[in-house]
Structures are given as structure tokens and as C-alpha cells.
Symmetry: D2
Subunit: 178 residues, 4 copies
């Protein structure tokens, strides 16, 4: 079983990309998870759609279509997801292959503040209704005070966080099978 | 008094840009409103901020700083605002001149569906809390079934919609003065 | 297969209760749907929980536990669900039998305004995350301008609305089986 | 200047009522704050409105009308406010004296979990749009891990929390004057 993880951060030393890398090591037996960032995904301008979808978008859509499940992680900017995460979702939601449709999806986030990106997650959940993703309810993964939970190399060191991620990845696997 | 209107659509014949143009003709006496679109505002990559803010962002921030009030209109993509609108808000929220802080702000939207972009507006309201914009409550302007309310040239023809816009622009003027 | 429908309206001639009654006649073959209102469900005061759950709550929880799926309909009060609907959800979420957990759940709403209760539905979706209900994504049923779609006896007369309800009930049946 | 504080908790030893009591001691010079709970506010059944508003509701509405500002605190139940808080808001929003209209309003919350009731606050903000309350943006007061910040007698002991409450009460006073 293959999970695709997409980070909404463009930062080189991103907490959220690090979080996904940590999650990739915590998936259940028999699952592998690839982590992607969104460099090269262009802005969606509806007037250019007649020319077809950009190659980078087609490639992302194909990777998602081929995956059994999706894991999203985004920094919280202004109490919502980043614009690049929204760009990706908007492209994927109108792609003719409908890669989000019915796709088992989990989300996680990390932030230096106490809330761990919670506000962005509830907006993200709303964004996934129309494309008809099959979004996991609980457990939710919101990693607050994140600088205390990752070391300087971006390794997740907090055991309680590892445990909840492991539970979420297990629940996502079960959601695929349901 | 000067209002700045920002459209979250990049489409040439955008309903939401047309809506703002209609609003510009419905502002109270003594108010003028400039309508802008967001071409040229680049993606926000935190790793590039040390090089300074892009010229297009500085220019937008200066225009907003100089305005007495802000009017936002965005198409609804996946039950939220467009990514380009989010890009603009994210830039403005971290700009050293803090042009959103305390700024009287109204929002409107139009869509072909019945809901008129309502879902995007409630997400947008949440995005404006942290930058501390002074956001107008009511009246709300959500123009559903919009293709029946604009003509082929993008002129707003529906009188009830004009009336509610006029009331909102009046309320925004009063919010500036409060 | 049995669906339980719960109305968040206490009004005798409630549009939302009428909507659920209409839905009960539009369920797929092999499904029956009981429609309940919430008279007699008392306010939840945590200090009284030691005395046990009220009989009316136990009875509601048992009915939900025995049902294969749940259908919720609520009027929109102040852009959210009614307080009586919230009371019921709060009781059900802490009931020891956990009747919401994993329960396939759909929602619908009707309102005289254009938005058809949409704002309340998105708040309701958030309320259902923690109790871990399995909430249907699309199709969504939001019946705007509802007085034009029901007759004076509370009969749903609008064919397009009947069609979308039928599709939602079919999707709910499939969600039970997944 | 008089602030009215309303707690959405019915619990005797409520963290949120304690939070409001702490806030009452942290208001700016020249301000006094009364803390109320909502015992005796009955459920809103639209069919009974012809008989007039209940006395307890009239009394609450009068107290709010006479106050210069409103402070709301609610526990988070199922990621939203409590039902009793919603009951109060629904009554106040339809009361003929319109006590919420234009009323400067701040919100705070405390919870044992890390998020401090944040999710409930964003739902509460949406509930206050239609009644046209003048809701404070920042600073936001969300007291997570609350059992570590109050002592056994319900006294707030955490200095950082006191500081942010003091800032919010000051900002609310300024909002009254604007």
C-alpha cells in the first residue's frame, strides 16, 4: 500500500515537511510513504486552462491517483493553509482524473505556537468536501510548540507525537480498506 | 475618502472583478474606489524574505496603507478563497508597514451557484483576524446565480444587488469614521 | 437497513422536519427511515452526570445505536445549528454507548433565505469530528428559498430537491456498506 | 464603564466562569465587570414566542443593553460552544431591544487540552456576525492546559495568562470608545 504525502511548505528546513518525513517512518507494516513538496506547481489561472494542464500538475495528479491514500501537512498562515497548498488542491480538484475523489486522506500540522496549526486544519477539511476526498476524522495530529519536539536536524524527537502519528497512519490504512 | 478594492480573480472576464467595478460606482458621495487585480504578485517563499519584499508587494502594501478602507472580492474555489487572494493576504500580513492593521474592510463575492461564494467569505473572515483588520459585519454581499445578474459585458444589472452593495459601501464608510 | 433522522427544530410546522419527512419517502429500496424531533431532551449540565443519563437521552442513544445511519437536519440560527440540536449532539457524544462513533451520517437543511442553511452545516460538520461520526461528503442538500419548495401542508413539491435528496440517501446507503 | 461577562458553563467549579472572574479583576481603571451564568435561561421554541419573551431573557437582554461591552467565555463541547451559550445568543439575537447590535464584544476560553477552546471561539465569531456585534479581533485569549493555570480554588495563578487578559480588556475598552 502506498501513501502520498504533500507538504504545503516551501521552506528548506520546514517543520511540516519534517513532520511528514517523520510520519513516513511511522507507517504501518506493508505501507510506504513518499513525501513531496510543491515547487514548480504554477498558479492556477482559469483563462489558461484551454492550453491544458501544466506538466507538473499532471505529474502530481498521476502520483496521487496511483497512491492508496493522501497525507497533507501545511503550515498555518493567517489561520488557514498556505497558498501553495491551496494551489495544489485547486488544481487537483479540477483535474480530469479526479485524483482526490474518494481518496482516503489524513492531515497533520506543526507550528511553534501552542495550537499546532489547528485553525488551518479545519479550513482544510472544508476545502476537501467538494472534491469528495474521504477524510479521516480522528485521531488528529496537531503538533504545538514544535521547536521543542524536533531537533536542529529536523528529526522528530517527541515520543508522544510519534505515538499519535503512528495511530493516525494506522487509522488511515484502515480507512483505505473500508 | 479612498477605498482600495482587490479582486482575487485572475480571469479576464471575472464576475468578481466585475462586481468590484460595479461597487466602485456605488460608493457614497465623497468616496472614490480603485479596483486592482493581483497579476504579478509572486508566491510567498519564506526562505527568500531576507532579500526583501518584491516590488509588486511593496506597491500593493503602499496602496493599501494609503487607502481608508479595503474591499475584497474572491471567487470561491473549493469552499475557500482563491490561492492568489491568499498569497496577497499572506504578503500583506507580514509586510513591515502592517497595512491590514486596523483597516476597515468589507468583502463581497459572486458565483454562478446559489450560495454566491458564502463559504469562501467565512474562511476569509477567519484569515483577517490575525492581521487585525477591522472587518465589517453586516450587510453581507453574496451574489448567487450571478450569470443572471450581470450582462454579457460584465455590467451588473440587478437592482436588488446594487442596493445591497450601496448599503455595504455606506456601512464601510461609517466604519472608517468610527 | 434503518436510517434514523433527527430534526433540530422544535417548531410544529418546521421546514426542516418536513424536509426529513420528505427524505423518508425518498430512501433507497430496502431502507426505512424514522424521523424524530428532540422534545424532552434536557439541557446537559455536567454537574448532574453522576446521577446517570436522562431516560430520554438513553432512549435516543439506543435508537441511534440500532440505526445503520443518521440523517441530521437543522434550521440555521445565527449561522449555526439550533441549541436543541447541539444539546442532542453533546449528549450523544459523551454517552457510554458511543452511538455516533463510526456512524454513517448525512446532513440536510432548508431555509427561507437563499443559502439554505449552508453556514450551519459547515459548523455541524466540525461538531461531528470529535465524536468520530463517518460523515458523508457530497452530495450536499441545502434547500434555499424553501417556502417556494414546500406547499402549505409541508409537502416537498420541488422535483430538483427531491432528486438531490434521493441521490444523497443513496450515497448514505453506500457509505454504510463501505 | 461597565462590562457584562457571560459564562457558557453551568458547572459549579467551571474553569470558564473562573476565567471571567479573573478577568473581572483585570479590567482597566474606570471599568467594572459583572459575571453572569445562564441558569434559568430556557430553551428557545419559536412556537412559544407569541406569548412574549421569558422574564429571565428580558432581564439578561436589559443587562446587556445597559452594558458598554460584552465578554463571552464558553467551554468547548464538540469543537463549538455549549448549548446554553447558544441558547443565550439565539434569544439575544431576536430580542426586540437588539442588545447585541453594535456591542463591543470580546471572547475568551479555557480548557484542559492544549487548544484552550480555540475551535469554539471561531464558531462563536461566526455566530456573532448576523446579530451585528462589534467583535474584537486581537488579542485572543485561549487558555490551554488550564488545570495548571488555576489553583484548586479556581484562582488564576498564571502570570502570562493574566497579562494577555489585561491586554484584551484594555483593547475592549478602546473598542467601546471607537
Amino acid at each position: 500500500m502506498k501513501f502520498l504525502a504533500i507538504s504545503g511548505s516551501l521552506r528548506k528546513s520546514s517543520l511540516n515537511t519534517s513532520l511528514l518525513r517523520a510520519a513516513a517512518a511511522l507507517v504501518p507494516q506493508g505501507v510506504s510513504m513518499e513525501v513531496r513538496t510543491l515547487e514548480g506547481i504554477p498558479l492556477l489561472d482559469p483563462d489558461t486552462l484551454e492550453a491544458g494542464f501544466p506538466q507538473a500538475v499532471n505529474e502530481l495528479a498521476a502520483a496521487l491517483k496511483a497512491a492508496d491514500a493522501l497525507v497533507l501537512a501545511s503550515p498555518e498562515f493567517n489561520y488557514s493553509v498556505t497558498a501553495i497548498m491551496k494551489i495544489a488542491l485547486d488544481w487537483l480538484s479540477i483535474h480530469p482524473d479526479a485524483p482526490l475523489k474518494g481518496k482516503a486522506t489524513a492531515m497533520m500540522s506543526a507550528s511553534p505556537s501552542g495550537l499546532g496549526g489547528a485553525r488551518a486544519q479545519y479550513q482544510l477539511r472544508q476545502m476537501l468536501i467538494y472534491p469528495d476526498a474521504k477524510v479521516l476524522g480522528v485521531p488528529e495530529v496537531m503538533v504545538g510548540s514544535a521547536f521543542e519536539k524536533f531537533d536542529a536536524q529536523g528529526e522528530l524527537t517527541d515520543q508522544a507525537t510519534k505515538d499519535i502519528i503512528q495511530k493516525q497512519m494506522q487509522a488511515l490504512k484502515e480507512l483505505v480498506n473500508c
